[in-house]
Symmetry: C2
């Protein structure tokens, strides 16, 4: 099987797709972001990359705060719409029936309908071209009670989260392994 060399492109896949909320509980805004990821484990940090022309860019640049809301099967259509409309002209929370919820560490609202809300404070904004990268410290995580199982274990599978791949929103499928499973198997084999 041979390969074709293409010009540079954003072909990493799958990537997350999240709703980023900002502003305040009484003047909330939301935008859809796929250019996001964890950049550091301790302290826990993530980034979001936003185009400077986005309404959220202005709000977050000024407040230095935002919330990353994970997207579920039930939120896909609203998430898609939040990526198309602009908060400069539309109150997306009202238009798409999203409920602003008070966060614990930031004044940005969380989206009640999302089961996991990650509160963030911006540490640095790095302009890169079409997008500015907001490097942020995670300051709190909010998890819906129904996702917490026995012994306080997070059962994230129940949330029915969505991935984004080359323009498509995809459900998550079958589990095919978990971190370290390839080594554990070997150890069991050795014992036998």
């Amino acid at each position: 099987m041979s390969k074709i060399v293409w010009k540079p492109g954003t072909l990493l896949s799958p990537v997350p797709v999240v709703l980023v909320s900002s502003g305040a509980v009484d003047s909330p805004n939301a935008v859809t972001v796929a250019w996001t990821g964890i950049v550091n484990t301790n302290p826990s940090m993530l980034y979001i990359s936003l185009r400077p022309e986005r309404h959220s860019h202005k709000i977050i640049s000024e407040s230095g705060e935002f919330v990353v809301n994970l997207v579920t099967r039930d939120l896909v259509r609203k998430t898609d719409s939040c990526g198309v409309y602009t908060g400069a002209k539309v109150n997306k929370f009202k238009k798409f029936n999203l409920t602003p919820e008070k966060a614990s560490q930031v004044s940005s609202p969380m989206i009640k309908e999302s089961p996991v809300n990650i509160e963030c404070k911006v540490e640095k904004i790095i302009p890169l071209g079409t997008h500015d990268m907001f490097l942020a410290r995670i300051v709190a995580v909010n998890v819906e009670e129904s996702l917490i199982g026995e012994g306080g274990k997070l059962e994230l599978k129940k949330a029915k989260l969505i991935a984004y791949s080359h323009g498509d929103y995809l459900e998550l499928g079958k589990k095919v392994g978990s971190f370290g499973y390839s080594v554990k198997k070997k150890k069991q084999n050795r014992v036998k």
Copy 2:
């Protein structure tokens, strides 16, 4: 449904999981990375975050080059192993039967068994704590011919890529929408 507030953690999900290859075709190394994402559309840029103690950190810091190899169902077990072993002691390509393949723009090898290889040149290294973030320019993308359909359209679904979620490797499932679908639907309704 109420929410529990947790301490900061790396709870973004799902995230990508990739094999990052570095070194040279005759002395290749590979490491598993989930802290990766697209940070800029034009010029196309991505990041990987690596712990300074990783063998790949040293190699990539010195060469300024690496390749991001997307992970398929068939590569999950090897990917898990590449995250556990260290290239300082083990030639992972040999141990796990991975084939180094010459890239077009960088001297780092690509992994032949991966259907999409993203060639990268480091622009900046940002220390953040446990991890250093390598901001990199994408300089070429290599795609397996079998994934290219009619009219040169990329059919990434055929690759059977894997997502990483809270310690689990998951297959990608059903398509539930594609970018802009929520708006297109409305337009069609309007026409009726």
